[in-house]
């Protein structure tokens, strides 16, 4: 997994509350192999019309935001289906962090496993960053994971909390499966005690 340490980029606002993972990637694309480019299907049905033309006023299609690597989300961003394809699509599109007041639980977990940082900030902070991004789409936001800070275009510093294990995983680009396998002895010992009767 590619590590996440810090990031400086402008940010694209997708701040409606309760955006679900069906919006982030519609179900008809879920049978595609993991190694495909899922970025093309990121917000597919909001980004493109039925004929495949870009919907010009959708934020992801704004020239200034096409290269953005940060997404500003609303409350409960990426709720619903557990489809990890939502993170693959977000990552494939080019984003590496989402700043939102809250996240769908499974999406936040999936993000960390793919090197994408979910940042939880109070709604007022996300609103301020959103207003700044709309006023000046090129305005850059800086995220510093070791310091757990987001710095807005006006220099305001917001501190965020993150699970220490998630932080470490992101900073190191941890291969979690390989890490767990270092605990093979513990698992085997547990299995011996847990036994067949717990079947």
């Amino acid at each position: 997994m590619e590590p996440f340490i810090s990031l400086r980029s402008n940010a694209v606002p997708l701040v409606q509350d309760n955006i679900d993972t069906d919006q982030i990637i519609p179900a008809r694309f879920l049978a595609r192999p993991r190694d495909d480019d899922h970025g093309i299907n990121f917000f597919r049905d909001l980004r493109f019309d039925a004929e495949g033309n870009e919907v010009s006023d959708f934020p992801l299609n704004q020239p200034a935001w096409r290269q953005a690597r940060i997404i500003l989300g609303g409350r409960n961003f990426a709720c619903g289906s557990s489809r990890e394809n939502a993170v693959w699509a977000l990552h494939g599109w080019g984003a590496r962090a989402v700043i939102a007041p809250s996240f769908g639980d499974i999406f936040a977990i999936n993000s960390v496993k793919n090197g994408v940082l979910p940042v939880i900030l109070p709604a007022e902070a996300v609103s301020a960053l959103t207003a700044a991004s709309i006023a000046e789409p090129e305005a850059e936001i800086a995220i510093d994971l070791p310091e757990q800070t987001v710095t807005g275009p006006d220099g305001t510093v917001y501190r965020f909390e993150i699970d220490p294990f998630a932080k470490r995983s992101l900073l190191e680009g941890l291969d979690e499966l390989a890490f767990t396998m270092t605990h093979e002895e513990d698992i085997a010992a547990f299995e011996r005690r847990f036994g067949r009767d717990n079947f």
Binding site: V15, Q16, D17, N18, D20, D22, Q23, P26, A27, R28, L30, A31, R32, P33, R34, D45, A50, G74, R75, N76, C79, G80, S81, S82, R83, E84, N85, V87, S102, F103, G104, D105, I106, I109, N110, K113, N114, D163, P164, F165, R168, E176, L177, T180, M181, H183, D186, I187, A189, F190, E191, R193, F194, D197, N198, F199
Partner: protein
Amino acid sequence: MQERQENYTCAALAKARFCRNDPFMIQHATPEPLTMFDKIWMRHRVLEREDGQVLLYVDRHFIHDGTAPAFEMLRKRGVAPRAPERIFATPDHYVPTDTREADEIANAEYRGMVESLERNTAEHGIRHFGLTDGGQGIVHVIGPEAGLSQPGMLLVCGDSHTSTHGALGALAFGIGMTEVAHVLATQCLWQRRPRTMRITVEGTLGFGVTAKDVILHIIATIGTAGATGYVIEYAGSAIRGLSMEGRLTLCNMSIEAGARAGMVAPDEKTFAYLADRPYAPKGTEWDAALARWRALPSDPGAQFDLEVMIDAASIAPMVTWGNSPQDAVPADGTIPDPMTTEDPGRRQAMEDCFAYMGLQAGMPVAELRMDRVFIGSCTNGRIEDLRAAAGIAQGGKVAPGVTAWVVPGSAQVKRQAEAEGLDAIFKSAGFEWREAGCSMCLGTNGEIGKPGQRIASTSNRNFRGRQGAGVRTHLMSPEMAAAAALAGHVVDVRHVKGAR
């Protein structure tokens, strides 16, 4: 919500840390009252890190035909599943519901998903309930049906509706694909302890009110993120009064309130439901299991981080109008008015939703005219759901211009329904009687509606485009959906013949 308690650091858990790696000592060494969640959590704890991450052991891992990427992740590492005997597979997402022949699936990608599950399970010796196997079905229907899902277990599946299995008194939750690969390889999963919420529904449910209405009412009350970060335990006389299948419906939609999992304490109904199912313990093992299961319910005085109280009598048959499961109103209600909402963001979102859904403020829900009806899914595709819908459909006719489907949740449900003559009732009323699968709940198999179509659906999500681009989904109970099929529009099931 009447009361809020924040007791995130559970003293019992802190004490139990000294008994690390001994799931059996923990319960004896801990005098504090524990929740059912605590008991299951502790029992499955392989180890706990200083930073609070816990490695949990998984009793049962359910996999479906969307699991190919996880097997691919393992293959790249040269790793095989650690405990294939704990993994159970069935194709549901990509299977057609008009045939049982995999090679008749026209779409090569969908066919590939079904075939790769068969191949991967054969390669690793995993029990596969295949398309022509009598045990196939939606993974969350067949787990309980086969007796695979049992009280006290920790169950996971790469699907958010895994919360369903919590109805048996298990801790069950959905995981992502990378986590699926991790569980395949290690039979374990890293988790941080979630918070606990108890939702108590006291009293008697009114005429025509089902488990589906209870959960839609709960989600409308606490919001679609109301339980994010929590595991819900549903309690109270109205919950105890639900059948096992009703409890499965209830727990199924816990994720629609944002919850990690939902659960109901096992009781005599649970045990009666499980007895004699193919994978349930037998003989002396059954007796031993019963003794364990009876100790599972939350102890008197156990502390939850959040308590929610709901009066059963206040719950009506519900219908959703919007694009979030929280957008639900009683069947005799009206579409809300965005202008009464103070939050400008919420108002704008409602107006966008009205445009998509073709709604006007204040219109009676009963004026929603349906093009299609879908009865099925892991929420409402079990035998009791079909009996209830057939009770409404009996002797009636699907309204002109309406296409109505009944998709049993499993091959077993289909056989049972046919043995009871339910298929004949549906067919003579003009419903299509189909094969088991997820079907139109999410349309991964291509079974979707056309843009602009309005669908009465017994499934779990009314998200924009969920049942096809431009499709307008209204969630409701099987009774309500059947009644809508006959009338051609939403009707309050309390005024319909055959309701119960």
